[in-house]
């Protein structure tokens, strides 16, 4: 039981980071981006490329303390975030911005679906179909709770760092959105784009900033997913449904809701696994979506839609 909760929180923190990016772009651009999962994958592979390149250089980078990874991965994190942001900006400029100008939000969803498959298969073309790892080091899970108490709880150092960094990123994001001018401008543009422009906010620049922020969080989530699992081309795609579930659960457009929603979805997935069976794990996110939409379409934490 405790173990399921721990696993759920680790997965959930990754889902949260992804869902925040999804809900950010949704609230500014008003479309469900089916390509968001591929931004996670892009981030995961960008980090892999950096780690591989540093290692290939012949640099000796032993694992840090109890973790499986060395400093190259820490260098790779910001590089991956930057690379993913560039990819997101490029897709927006080439595809979404042109379709936005024509004013049909629903066509954007189709386009994002196409962009997602193209991007995923481009990664498959470049990196090949075999799953990869940031490190082959074996890690020893730490028993936080002995086996006798509610089944016990064992967590690897990597999982702990993922959970910690994800929570830190969420706190940083909260501060950014509530304390800085750019953060407030983002929220203002999401609430009321016309009023934002009248107020003097360059909404095109805010949209670019939103892509950068959403993509950077996605890259972080992608690296975390790769670190606690495998780096593979379907990494982000498999998280797309949980991320949508988290965003809907939190009330689409609500950043705090998405963060909390991600943890809830991660927990639900983990706790439902013994019930549904591991092979149907992915279905639990879908069941969550349907249940929320039927019971409370505005999301558990969201306001009732306008």
């Amino acid at each position: 039981m405790l173990q399921l909760i721990a696993d759920g929180l680790v997965v959930g923190s990754t889902v949260s980071l992804g869902a925040i990016g999804l809900t950010l772009t949704y609230s500014l651009l008003r479309f469900a981006n089916f390509g968001h999962g591929e931004l996670l994958t892009t981030g995961a592979y960008a980090a892999l490329a950096v780690v591989t390149a540093i290692t290939a250089w012949g640099v000796d980078a032993p694992p840090i303390g109890p973790f499986s990874f060395g400093w190259p991965l820490l260098v790779a994190l910001p590089v991956a975030a930057g690379a993913t942001a560039l990819v997101a900006l490029a897709i927006d400029a080439l595809l979404f911005a042109r379709l936005r100008a024509r004013g049909s939000a629903i066509v954007l969803i189709i386009a994002s679906f196409g962009a997602a498959l193209a991007l995923r298969n481009l990664l498959l073309f470049v990196f090949g179909p075999l799953p990869e790892y940031y490190s082959r080091e074996i890690q020893i899970a730490v028993a936080l709770v002995p086996r006798g108490v509610m089944g016990g709880m064992r967590v690897t150092p990597d999982q702990m760092v993922v959970l910690g960094l994800a929570l830190a990123a969420m706190v940083a994001l909260h501060v950014f959105l509530t304390r800085t001018v750019l953060g407030k401008a983002m929220r203002a543009t999401a609430m009321n784009p016309d009023l934002a422009r009248i107020t003097g906010i360059d909404t095109a620049a805010v949209i670019r900033a939103t892509w950068i922020l959403g993509a950077a969080l996605a890259a972080l989530a992608g690296v975390f997913a790769g670190l606690t699992g495998q780096v593979r081309t379907t990494l982000g795609f498999e998280l797309l449904l949980p991320m949508f579930a988290a965003a809907i659960l939190g009330g689409v457009g609500s950043i705090h809701g998405a963060a909390l929603g991600g943890l809830v979805v991660g927990l639900a997935e983990s706790l439902l696994t013994p019930v549904l069976g591991a092979e149907y794990r992915a279905a639990s996110a879908f069941l969550a979506i349907i249940a929320i939409l039927l019971v409370r379409p505005a999301g558990l934490f969201g306001r009732v839609a306008r």
Partner: protein, 323 residues
């Protein structure tokens, strides 16, 4: 001579496939083109049709559910009914909600169906799929060209039938209401419950047609497995509709043929170019190509090759000579 027969056999095979896609795209066109319903889970509905028809018609084989050995026609009707029922359930849950929720929900449905196909071994054969799905005429006519040609004729018949049926439907008062709903969701909302009923009817009929398409596929290949119904299939079908022209039934058929041709030719070319050890990567490039085709189409020619035939434009065309 054998070459010629081989070529003819391949042509029949190619066209039969295009026809099967055309049937499914016609169903999608009723959803999106005429009603504005956003279904991202087409592959799921196709899979339901394929599996149901396979289970109903396949003779008894050890380790495989069914053995009902019912006539193929019964299988097809069962496929359409089952997919329609799935559409009824999904539609009833989501059609009152905004379009992006419908998209997300249908996307989820397709993933769940994929999981069931992969894991419910007693029902679907799991990753190995279902074998020995009866191929009509094959026993009496023989495999290869005769079967391909006969099945092509059958598929063409189904395409014509579905096309004719849909044309009647969308030109009826019922179809005009659908388009009115699609054009002005806000005004339509004031009509409340009846709009929901109209949407649900369109969603169920479209889903049933997709199921029928799945059954056509199953009996053409004689073997189905979960990987036949991945999200890439949904994506191909959407590209077909967008390329052909949403809201135009002839466009849906044209799009199916054109995109299937692009797919087949690019696949062949990539297989020829790529070294044997890089074939998987080559297949990935094929998807990238179709993705770019879809994006280019959306940007450069959003109305598709044929564009929508609207009641308004027909009026305008009719009135033009008068001045």
């Amino acid at each position: 001579m054998t070459d010629l027969a081989g070529l003819a056999s391949y042509a029949a095979f190619f066209l039969a496939f295009a026809g099967i896609f055309a049937v499914i795209v016609l169903g999608l066109n009723l959803h999106w083109g005429f009603t504005g319903l956003f279904n991202v889970g087409v592959a799921g509905f196709v899979a339901i049709g394929a599996y149901v028809s396979a289970i109903l018609t396949t003779p008894d084989h050890p380790g495989q559910l069914g053995g009902f050995a019912l006539p193929v026609v019964v299988g097809w009707l069962g496929a359409a009914a089952a997919a329609g029922l799935a559409g009824l359930i999904v539609g009833a849950a989501t059609l009152r909600l905004r379009h992006d929720y419908l998209a997300i929900a249908t996307f989820g449905i397709a993933i769940v169906i994929q999981l069931v196909a992969l894991n419910a071994q007693w029902l679907t054969g799991g990753p190995f799929g279902l074998h020995f799905v009866p191929k009509p005429f094959e026993a009496s006519l023989g495999a290869g060209l005769p079967f391909n040609a006969a099945y092509l004729a059958l598929v063409v018949g189904v395409v014509l039938l579905v096309h004719a049926g849909l044309e009647r439907l969308v030109r009826s008062p019922w179809g005009r209401v659908l388009r009115a709903i699609r054009e002005d969701e806000v005004a339509a909302e004031s009509l409340g419950k009846r709009i929901f009923a109209f949407r649900l009817q369109a969603f169920v009929i479209g889903s049933a047609i997709m199921g029928l398409g799945g059954a056509l596929y199953a009996h053409f290949i004689g073997y189905i497995a979960p990987e036949d119904f991945l999200p890439i299939l949904t994506f191909q079908l959407w590209t077909m509709l967008i390329v052909g022209g949403a809201g135009n039934n002839r466009g849906a058929i044209l799009g199916a043929v054109v995109v299937w041709a692009v797919w087949a030719i690019s696949g062949g070319a990539l297989r020829a170019i790529m070294p044997p050890d890089a074939q998987t990567r080559g297949a990935a490039l094929q998807v990238v190509l179709i993705g770019i085709l879809l994006a280019a189409m959306l940007i450069l020619r959003p109305r598709g090759l044929l564009g929508e035939e609207t009641a308004i434009s027909r009026h305008a065309a009719a009135r033009e000579p008068e001045g």
